[in-house]
């Protein structure tokens, strides 16, 4: 008799398992169930539908060839039976039966399986804030929410919105609301910076500035204490760290909880957060039950931690692996390095591995470089600055993470993707220095920014490059604890000298430094300053070679100030 495969959840992982399995095996019976009526959709596209980049919601559940991915499509095209509006409520593992509830009539029944696949994803978490259940408070996790929010906005009912949570969905939603609809949006984040899981404070500063420049009011380190309104007229405001922000719409984007209750009750092992524990074959603790996507824990290959990682891309890759294994072959999913990317208005952000904060928490001693460089040859038109932060462990020089941000979004992501494959294997900084990324002037510099991020970190680890980050520079300069040496041309330095005084802002153009270094005080803490940090590093070495011991240089130089704190730059500077 043909094997019977039941797949619970029909959004990302499930359809991939079903489609691939049918291609591998013409005979097995494949049934996919979902509690929703809409299935197999690109949930990650929801902010772009709300923001108007995508015109019709059908596009999110249609194929490239414009077939709607509904049960009929799965039956005829994929050879897979789909039953919607059915929820899994239990598993009798001994009898190999899935218990389900039919949501339209409330009846319950059993479905026998030979192999069961759980791809039930997660449900948005509603924090225990008073008013979180008021009308006008929406999560963003399925197409019904998407439609409801878009309807509300498009009929002009929303003047002000508050987005709670500045993770990927929160940031994307803030952009969607502001960009097309001109909704006055406040983005509230409890952590000290936006995208707190993905990036560290250096890159986050750039993202926050981009959000603010684009009209989003960003509140970081801010606690939502109450959502104000009543059941009749809905939400009217949000109380954030004591202050009330008036609004007509609240987007709740503080994370998801895995839909694994029925599986855990059946005795399958789950981790701390309730995500299913699986082996490398993506098998749960029951050998006849596989799981993947947003409802499992996977191994972070840099930290060794087991964590959920909710990304459609991982769900798809895992789906393929599960199908292969059900078919009887051996395919493995080793884990993730957390590759992540996001567009934030005119900026692309990409990252992989650990942030400095996460690296410390995992027991490493992280050291980082921050490089500002043109994304193509500096003489080529349309070159734009790209910022890359590379993080390594001090003792072992093992690369722990990479973060990048810049205006040309594909070129930002490219730099991170080029590090990811070796990050999977474990790599050291030298391997970033010699990474053989493609070169031609329309694409990159001869020494690409990613190589230079490695070179710079190599110099830092060797103690040759003694850098300072912008937040520290800003703080020390304000306190009068550092003297700046500006190595740029006179015309560039003059506005700064006028603004901050020639005592605090000394100017020696780079070509004159070797001759004039004795003009500088050896008994003060100096911070060298140039356009990007390249010349200031070179000059720091010249000063060191001339007996100066209290010299650092500002990583990213003028380029980083321009995108994080333009107010620091005097008029004309």
């Amino acid at each position: 008799m043909a094997k019977k495969i039941i797949i619970v959840g029909a959004v990302a992982l499930g359809p991939k398992v079903a489609s691939r399995l049918r291609r591998l095996d013409p005979d097995c019976e494949i049934i996919m169930i979902d509690r929703d009526s809409l299935i197999s959709y690109g949930g990650c596209g929801i902010p772009y539908y709300i923001g108007g980049d995508i015109g019709e919601i059908e596009e999110l559940y249609s194929t490239t060839a414009h077939h709607v991915r509904d049960p009929e499509f799965f039956r005829t095209v994929k050879g897979v039976e789909v039953i919607t509006r059915v929820e899994a409520i239990g598993i009798d593992r001994r009898k190999k039966q899935l218990k389900v509830r039919h949501l339209d009539d409330g009846t319950e029944s059993e479905m026998a399986y030979d192999k069961l696949v759980i791809g039930t994803g997660g449900t948005p978490f509603t924090p225990p804030i008073p008013g979180a259940d008021l009308p006008g408070v929406y999560p963003v996790s399925n197409l019904h929410h998407a439609q409801a929010i878009k309807e509300l906005i498009s009929k002009g009912a929303v003047g002000n919105a508050v987005v709670i949570g500045a993770g990927a969905i929160g940031v994307e939603m803030a952009e969607a609301l502001t960009d097309l609809w001109g909704v006055q949006t406040t983005l509230v984040e409890m952590a000290p910076h936006v995208l707190p899981v993905a990036i560290g404070p250096n890159i986050a500063l750039i993202v926050e500035k981009e959000l603010e420049k684009s009209g989003v009011d960003v509140k970081i380190g801010a606690q939502v204490t109450k959502i104000i309104g009543d059941a009749e007229s809905g939400v009217t405001g949000v109380e954030v760290s004591g202050e009330v922000i008036e609004c007509d719409l609240v987007i709740m984007a503080v994370g998801v909880r895995p839909n694994t209750g029925f599986a855990a009750e059946a005795g399958l092992a789950v981790g701390r957060g309730g995500s299913l524990i699986v082996d490398k074959n993506l098998r749960t603790t029951d050998p006849d039950i596989y799981a993947g996507g947003d409802c499992i824990e996977i191994r972070n290959l840099v930290s060794g931690e087991q964590l959920p990682m909710a990304l459609g891309s991982l769900a798809n890759r895992q789906g393929r692996i599960i199908a292969t294994n059900i078919f009887g072959k051996n395919a493995q999913f080793d884990g993730t390095v957390g590759t992540f990317c996001i567009k934030v208005f005119g900026m692309g952000v990409a990252t992989a591995g650990l942030t400095i904060h996460q690296a410390k928490a995992a027991g490493f001693d992280p050291v980082h470089s921050l490089v500002a460089q043109f994304d193509r040859a500096h003489f080529y038109p349309n070159s734009k600055f790209l910022f890359v932060q590379l993080i390594a462990d001090r003792a072992t020089r093992r690369v722990l993470g990479v973060e990048a941000v810049g205006e040309q979004i594909d070129s930002v992501k490219a730099r991170v993707d080029a590090v990811v494959p070796l990050l999977h294997k474990g790599m050291n900084v030298d391997e970033v220095c010699t990474l053989e990324v493609g070169y031609a002037p329309p694409f990159s510099s001869a020494m690409d920014v990613i190589n230079n991020a490695g070179n710079t970190l190599d110099n830092i680890l060797d103690g040759r490059n003694i850098p300072m980050d912008w937040p520290e520079f800003s703080d020390l300069f304000e306190k009068g604890q550092i003297t700046v040496v500006d190595l740029r041309e006179a015309v560039e330095a003059q506005p700064f000298i006028d603004q901050y005084g020639a005592e605090r802002w000394i100017h020696i153009p780079q070509p004159e430094l070797r001759e004039r270094c004795n003009e500088l005080p050896k008994d003060k803490d100096l911070c060298l300053f140039c356009g990007t940090g390249a010349r200031s590093f070179e000059c720091q070495i010249i000063l060191n070679q001339n007996g100066f011991t209290r010299v650092k240089n500002l990583q990213g130089g003028y380029a980083i100030i321009r995108v994080t704190d333009p107010d620091f730059i005097p008029q004309g500077g």
Copy 2:
């Protein structure tokens, strides 16, 4: 006494060695010589200067901060002495003396060294064609050529040009001449397709079509037998495979020869083509002499062959390694996988590893996939098709090469760069399937095109996917040896049926195939056809599962025809 380092050649490798070495060691004496008066320039930028993307030639030898990189710059900023117009003519290795000729007065002298670095690059090769020395025939290898060519064009003296050689420089020059200046340009290549070293015929077809669409006359498999003209009026035409092409300018871009005569005469080992042989520390067969850049052979890590690879990016990375080693540390250069990228009008091309042809020559049994897919989520605006060809060895499933082409040039290069790091180590197809490239709808699909190139190749290697390439399809269809089954919608298929007849061009929409497959002949060779090759693969499996054995599917589908042979597509199709 301070160590004395002499560096021969001051274009790419030399300046990097000098600058880094000075940062490592404040005391050593560093002298860099060059036979040219212009140094430290971005030679790869020359076509963009000629084509007008770069306004002034000075930009090619200026820093990001607009400092001209001349001997004065190297003295003051880098602490390096540069002597120009001096040519190396011999090495007395026993005495550790470099013999040089001063080009301005013809005198000769000796320069003692502790360590010598050879970064002399290459000289354009002039093939033994009658007329190759006529006025109006130019190589493109230094700024003097660049200036001469640009002067000629900008005064309107060039109506027609012939570019001999369709490698990177030839293709870039053809674009430069056509794009800005409207020069009627013919690009002549002896090999059966353009960019013959970098890519195979499948991707080359797309590049050739792009060149032709943009106004370049492409002649492949064509032999230049004579350059016509006289010493007084210069070149007037080129005889190509019997035909005369009239022209006022000939660009000779058939390759370079390494400038290593003086080094070979001194007994340093060179390879077949005259390139210096170096070890992993980039040391020649004399332990006190290092070499790098275009004048050395490096190991191709896929084929194991030793070959020169003339790229400014490699020269820069090698320069850094040489400096580190001269300083007494141990840095290594393992070799290359030949990562390469080029912009061709509106297309970006990127590649790494071996072409199918090179893989066969190296003793592999190459199998390839060719995938057409949108570069971002298909529902996201501004998604463009990207074509990726992945090549692996049949028996071992080891990845041998990857080629990509598409309109959004950064996103093309990104896919290749993401494969390169593991290609360096040796990787198999499964690792491409699970490559963890970043995902968000504005950047990529959940299952990225590079993953799908892996998935498809995995299916081909397993014998599940039995593909056909466009050239074979075109040939067999013309001969009446295959019957096409078009799986697209009626409105898409109809123009093809009208054009080619319902016998040769059968139409069954994909959703109806499972029900209607018995309408198809089992005794004919069928080739399934869809938009990209994804549905035709899926349907090929359905037919196989229903007893059809003579079924293939067209890789790349309609998408590949559109960019390689639009004439095949009927009006309205």
